[in-house]
């Protein structure tokens, strides 16, 4: 059982790696944000499996935090963080 | 100087160590909570208390057999954290407790709460934080606590550098922050390795357990290098000149006088306590050689500066180099590290520099406030307009040159004696040259200041007399440091010291001044009032050669202050130290 779950973690991680290769290349920023999203979800799945394998129930708490904060990278991307620059008002991107 | 028996108990008076850290930190918290209007008031309430604690600590130490120990939370190391003070800690704490209040008095009119609130509020909180961080470094008995204290120091100094918000000070602050972070990460890596090897971070425990194995030496190399980056030893000084020259004068005084000594102190702890002598003679020579280069480079580039504050900043670079001469000199003929005269001389020099350099920066700040600029060529006649400031600068400079009865003079004697005992004559040349080179830039500045003005000087603003007095007191402190009873705190060998007020005191003043004058004429590219026309023509070829040398040094310095060069030198120093330690083990 534990071997199967470990193998699943490895498999999901490998999928993550493959997906990342395609996404990190871009071309657009949206694709990059997707990569952050992908790694978040994959990471959660891997954590849940890993916690069961290693018998560390608290790993679920780590996954819980990741799930709670999964949107933040994308929000930062959309809002450009919190501090403003004066030049912002002049550029049009 | 480590206590012979395992330290499992808090000593009497140990609570002073806790207070020395907690009091300034409590001041920060209180000032932050009370708000801008009370910040300065809080700072000035804390100052006398801090001074009293430092005094009590200095008095309590000899009674405690030269050691004060406090187990925080009553947990004994290795699980708990101990605070630990010896003579070195006591003198550094005392020096800090003198310099910080003096700087505070100097800064009080400029950073008064009524003015634009931002800079004063930040300044006083950061000043208290620096005090707490330095005390934590001086009494920290645990390598990781020292790391946190170092970071506390960095976080307190970076905003001081950029306090006036101009672009180049922001850039200087960012460079400083990034380079300091690189240094502290290397230090942390070494800490991790030591824990993995010995299961303890306590300095006393490690000094008993550490042995010369590869992992320990790698840790020593990484930690030493990281700390050198924070101390700005040549060639890791890219951040120092802009940061120290760009900060407000009061902040520069603290940065130059005290802050760089914090990381230096941890290097001393590492080499003399944690792994006593393990780094070896060859690695110590690397430190000495870098220090020697720093003396030459810093002084030559200082002589080529256009602005007074940059000159003083480069002089700090040279003086930091001088401090590192203690490492090779502490190894005796058989290659063993001794806590002897070399260590005492080095620490004494650090204290002398702390007081003198702070005074010089404060004087430069007054001159800047008076004239509205600090171009050295424009200083003509300032001695008449601002006699106190110029006097302070001169006294600070004289103290740094090593003229009796200054602390620097005693330090130089101790280091010379160590060089003679350990048969390392080559450092003698540098020890003497250091004084002459210091004299060169002091003479250069004074020559301008004392020269008749081209046109009458109109002072922009009057500097309150109290500011000048605070600076003057510090300069006098430095000049009289040699008369203090150091033997109960520092490992000063008996006998052999020259009488600080003897007849040779005069020669110790005259020789550096004469040599310095010659060097100033030869190496300073700016027009200056020192040379007579006839002499000038006679020595013209020599001067051209010297100026060429100076240009070359400055060009090399420009390259070394670029980020890639500086950070690569950092790694190179780490590898060199590591290799030599391993070869010597």
């Amino acid at each position: 059982m534990s071997d199967f779950l470990t193998a699943s973690v490895g498999f999901i991680l490998a999928m993550l790696a493959l997906g990342l290769v395609s996404i990190l290349r871009g071309p657009g920023d949206a694709d990059r944000m997707m990569s952050a999203q992908l790694i978040g979800t994959g990471g959660i799945a891997a954590l849940l499996l890993l916690g069961t394998v290693t018998g560390v129930p608290a790993a679920v708490d780590v996954a819980l935090i990741l799930a709670l904060l999964a949107t933040f990278a994308s929000i930062a991307f959309v809002k450009k963080g919190l501090s403003r620059l004066e030049v912002d008002s002049t550029d049009g991107t | 100087m480590l206590p012979p028996a395992p330290m499992s108990a808090t000593t009497a008076g140990g609570f002073l160590l806790v207070l020395s850290i907690v009091l300034p930190v409590a001041g920060v918290l209180l000032a932050f909570a009370l708000g801008d209007r009370y910040v300065r008031l809080v700072a000035f309430t804390i100052m006398p208390l801090g001074l009293a604690i430092a005094a009590a600590l200095v008095l309590a130490l000899p009674r405690g057999g030269g050691h004060l120990v406090y187990l925080l939370g009553a947990w004994p190391p290795p699980l708990g954290v101990a605070l630990h003070a010896d003579g070195l800690s006591a003198v550094m704490i005392a020096a800090t407790a003198v310099v910080i209040p003096a700087v505070a008095v100097y800064a009080a009119p400029e950073f008064r709460p009524a003015a634009a609130a931002r800079a004063p509020a930040a300044f006083w909180m950061l000043l208290l934080a620096i005090w707490g961080a330095l005390n934590a470094i001086f009494v920290g008995g645990d390598l990781f606590t020292l790391y946190v204290a170092l970071e506390l120091l960095t976080f307190a100094t970076v905003p001081l550098v950029s306090l006036d918000g101009r672009a180049e000070t922001l850039q200087a602050a960012l460079r400083y922050l990034l380079f300091a972070l690189l240094g502290s990460v290397l230090y942390l890596a070494g800490t991790a390795l030591l824990y993995g090897l010995y299961g303890a971070l306590d300095i006393v425990l490690l000094s008993r357990r550490a042995d010369a194995q590869l992992g320990t030496l790698i840790a020593a190399a990484l930690m030493t290098t990281g700390l050198l980056a924070k101390t700005a030893l040549f060639p890791l000084h890219l951040w120092l000149p802009p940061a120290h020259a760009g900060a407000p004068a009061a902040a520069s005084a603290i940065l130059s006088g005290l802050v760089v000594k914090g990381s230096l102190f941890i290097v001393i702890r590492l080499w003399f306590d944690v792994m006593r002598g393990l780094p070896g003679f060859a690695a110590a020579h690397v430190l000495g050689a870098l220090g020697a280069t720093a003396i030459i480079f810093g002084s030559v580039v200082a002589l080529r500066q256009e602005r007074l504050k940059l000159l003083i900043a480069y002089s700090t670079l040279a003086q930091i180099g001088y401090l590192f001469l203690m490492f090779p000199l502490a190894f005796d003929v058989s290659g063993d590290l001794k806590r002897g005269g070399a260590l005492a001389g080095g620490v004494l020099q650090a204290i002398s520099h702390a007081t003198a350099k702070a005074a010089m920066f404060m004087a430069a700040g007054s001159i800047y406030a008076g004239l509205g600029h600090d171009r050295i060529t424009g200083l003509n006649g300032v001695a008449r307009a601002q006699p106190l400031s110029v006097l302070t600068f001169a006294l600070g400079g004289v103290a740094l040159m090593g003229v009796p009865p200054s602390g620097a003079s005693l330090a130089k004697d101790l280091l010379l004696q160590a060089a003679a005992e350990t048969e390392q004559w080559w450092w003698t040349i540098l020890l003497q040259a250091g004084g002459v080179l210091t004299a060169a830039y002091v003479v250069l500045v004074l020559a301008h200041a004392l020269a008749p003005p081209d046109k009458p000087i109109a002072l922009r603003g009057a500097v309150p007399r109290i500011c000048d007095l605070a600076a003057l007191v510090l300069a006098l402190c430095s000049l009289l440091l040699g008369l203090m009873p150091w033997a109960s705190y520092l490992p000063i060998p008996q006998g052999g010291m020259s009488n600080p007020l003897g007849i040779d005191a005069l020669s110790k003043l005259l020789l550096p001044v004469l040599g310095g004058t010659v060097l100033a004429i030869l190496l300073s590219p700016w027009p200056h009032p020192l040379a007579l026309n006839a002499v000038e023509r006679m020595i013209a070829p020599l001067r051209r050669a010297c100026l060429g040398f100076g240009r070359l040094v400055e060009a090399v310095d420009d390259v070394l202050r670029q980020w890639p060069a500086a950070s690569m030198s950092l790694l190179l120093v780490a590898l060199l130290l590591g290799t030599l330690m391993f070869a010597g083990a």
Partner: protein, 114 residues
């Protein structure tokens, strides 16, 4: 011991990569990323040392873990301060270069602080 070896080498490699990036990348933000990489390598070093010290029913020595948590906090505070400085520098100077021979005068006078 295999996890320790694999992740130990990962930590060393992260340190190496971080150092390389810190040296060669001209942009401060990239230097900051490299610093964080370097830092995480050093934290992992603590992690594997704690893992080796697994005892008394705990899979990882609690002391290095506590040190890492403190270290992460400090590194994060440093990152935030550096970013604030960087954005402020950009706003004041219009560029983020760290070259020492390109002193840019800000909005104020060219006077040094006094």
């Amino acid at each position: 011991m295999s996890a320790v070896t694999v992740f130990g080498l990962t930590a060393a490699a992260a340190v190496g990569l971080g150092l390389y990036g810190l040296i060669t990348n001209p942009q401060p933000l990239r230097k900051l990323l490299a610093f964080n990489l370097l830092g995480s390598g050093v934290f992992l070093l603590f992690g594997i040392i704690g893992r080796r010290g697994a005892a008394a029913g705990f899979g990882n020595d609690p002391v290095p873990q506590a040190l890492v948590i403190t270290g992460i906090v400090v590194a994060f505070a440093a990152t935030a301060l550096a970013i604030a400085l960087l954005l402020r520098l950009f706003r004041t100077a219009g560029s983020t270069t760290l070259r020492s021979d390109a002193p840019r005068m800000g909005r104020g006078a060219d006077a040094p602080g006094g």
